[in-house]
């Protein structure tokens, strides 16, 4: 047994033999080592470049000011003097913006979703164009749409609702068409075999399968949009964001903290309700 090593009497020669037999157990092989060094050097160089680009030194200069702001945020001694009616009204406006925007989007996305599904529209060109249209709606952030709509039709929640509607139509139409593509063929075939026309096949063969999925996706988007809607006001598209932006600009940090907490509570409440409904939808299927 010349190759085996006895643990109770290891000699230098045994170690040397093991080293030649299993070089990777004793040291990282050179290509890998070179790669590690190269990655480290690149990271350091890149961080240096970013330091030149962004000047991280300002972080340390700003920390002191940040503490001042945090200190002002926790001092709520003037709570009674704040304009609570305005704040709560804007919060309600935000929620309704998210609700109406998502509602409109989920209605409009339904026919679009069918147009983008492979098993409904067999032609490639048509489907390609529809899909790219969704991408355009989806690719630009809601805040960009909001800014454009505010510029086109003036300040106010309508611009916000339309921004949510446009961006969300892109998202939901894509999700819907994927849901439709994953629908079972058998039910469609069955309805068609019973002599149904194309439209009726979709109505009776596909829609009952995908409707719960669609509803649950729309609810999920409602949760996400109620988060997004809180910031649309920052560009003038109505809702709580506008109030928040005013208070940041006049450095009323105590109210800023209050509004942020209000937003967190509202979003959590909507999440809770929506999750309950979604669980019921999935259980009821």
């Amino acid at each position: 047994m010349s190759g085996s090593i006895h643990l109770d009497r290891i000699s230098q020669a045994d170690i040397e033999r093991a080293r030649t037999r299993f070089p990777t157990a004793f040291a990282t092989p050179w290509p890998q080592r070179t790669l590690h060094i190269a990655i480290a050097v690149t990271t350091v160089a890149w961080l240096g470049y970013l330091h030149w680009l962004f000047d991280f030194g300002k972080i340390f200069a700003g920390i002191g000011k940040l503490w001042v702001i945090v200190g002002l945020m926790v001092n709520w001694s003037e709570f009674a003097t704040w304009d609570h009616v305005e704040i709560l009204q804007s919060m309600l406006e935000t929620v309704t913006m998210a609700f109406l925007g998502t509602l409109l989007a989920s209605i409009v996305a339904m026919p679009l979703g069918f147009l983008g599904a492979r098993n409904v529209i067999p032609g490639t060109a048509m489907r390609f164009l529809t899909r790219r249209l969704f991408d355009v709606f989806r690719g630009l952030d809601q805040l960009i749409w909001a800014l454009v709509f505010v510029r086109a039709m003036g300040l106010g929640p309508i611009a916000g609702i339309l921004a949510i509607f446009v961006a969300d139509t892109g998202v939901l139409a894509k999700l819907y068409s994927e849901a439709i593509e994953h629908a079972e063929r058998g039910q469609m075939d069955g309805v068609r075999a019973a002599g149904a026309a194309k439209l009726m096949t979709l109505r009776l063969g596909v829609l009952p399968q995908v409707l719960p999925v669609m509803l649950s996706q729309a609810l999920y988007q409602l949760e996400s949009n109620s988060r997004e809607a809180t910031i649309l006001g920052l560009v003038g598209a109505g809702g709580i964001g506008l109030r928040l932006s005013e208070r940041i600009q006049i450095n009323a940090w105590d109210q800023v903290a209050y509004i942020i907490m209000l937003i967190l509570a509202t979003v959590a409440a909507i999440d809770f309700v929506s999750r309950r409904i979604r669980t019921r939808l999935i259980a009821g299927r």
Partner: protein
């Protein structure tokens, strides 16, 4: 068909009618609640049909302006592109070069935007990596530590990042730094949650082995958990990078750097053809990064599964 007259059948009919009525009532109630919600929403947000009808043509008008230019003083606006002049020089109206005549500036800003997204993702990855181990229930036990870390992560991810950026612009000044910090903090919270879930699904046997061999907590994490969870972490980080690219294009609206700051400026000054030019560039960049990241993720998962 002769009517069947049997007590059992009558009971069945009565029960069936009762169930149908109950179902109908439930549906009517749901519709009523839903209608009420819509009504309240319409009133609270002032989303009346007449206002909408007045506004929609303005949108059409605005989008028309985005894709048209006024070539000379007093001349009628013409479409931003035409086939005859498509490849003309920078001085030739209706050419691509004329439309994107500030391409150099945009490219610099887009580069800056992507660097912001990369740095913010790196920041989020580092923060989330460190915090995900004390946040995982199976690794940190049931003391006050996991609870505190979890609440911290929740706070980080639930404050909207644009709001965070707006606040951070005050101490750190107008510019990309505030944006990077805001997106980085948000990414830490979002990734921290996902990472700690990956950790909770990790196989505990290597950890037990490390502990049995006398490893400290940090060592059993390093050699017992990290090798298992790293592929999952990287995949989530790439997904986050895609999201962060989008975020960094808009974070400039509150003065926190990147292409968003320029977009807000040209929208504010009504330089219509530049608005459409920047929007198109943002779309292209976002789509390209999505595609690239998808490829990279596929490759990453494939190559790590092959090991």
């Amino acid at each position: 068909m002769e009517a069947i007259d049997h007590p059992a059948y009558r009971a069945f009919l009565a029960r069936y009618a009762e169930l149908r009525r109950a179902r109908r009532n439930e549906t009517a109630l749901l519709i009523a609640i839903f209608g009420l919600l819509v009504l309240i929403s319409v009133i609270a947000s002032g989303f009346y049909p007449d206002k909408l009808a007045a506004g929609v043509p303005k949108i059409g008008e605005y989008f028309g302006k985005l894709f048209s230019i006024v070539p000379q003083r007093g001349a009628e606006p013409v479409p931003v592109l035409s086939f005859a002049h498509l490849f003309g020089g920078v001085k030739q109206p209706q050419s691509i070069a004329y439309w994107f005549y500030r391409f150099g500036t945009y490219a610099t800003l887009l580069w800056q935007t992507i660097q912001m997204a990369i740095l913010a993702t790196a920041m989020g990855f580092t923060g989330a990596f460190v915090l995900s181990f004390p946040a995982a229930r199976n690794l940190a036990g049931h003391g006050p530590v996991p609870w505190t870390v979890r609440r911290l992560l929740e706070l980080m991810r639930s404050v909207p990042q644009v709001v965070l950026a707006f606040i951070l612009v005050w101490p750190f000044g107008i510019g990309p730094l505030a944006g990077i910090l805001a997106i980085g903090i948000h990414s830490t919270g979002a990734l921290g949650k996902l990472f700690s879930e990956v950790n909770e699904n990790a196989d505990m046997r290597p950890v037990e082995g490390m502990t049995a061999a006398g490893g400290k907590w940090a060592q059993s994490m390093r050699y017992g958990v990290v090798p298992q969870v790293l592929p999952g972490f990287l995949s989530y980080a790439l997904l986050r990078f895609e999201i962060n690219v989008r975020s960094s294009t808009i974070i400039g609206f509150v003065g926190a750097g990147g292409i968003g700051q320029e977009l807000k400026r040209v929208i504010g000054f009504n330089i219509y053809e530049e608005v459409s030019a920047i929007a198109i560039l943002i779309l292209i960049i976002v789509m390209l990064i999505d595609l690239a990241s998808e490829q990279l993720r596929g490759w990453l998962i494939g190559s790590l599964a092959a090991r």
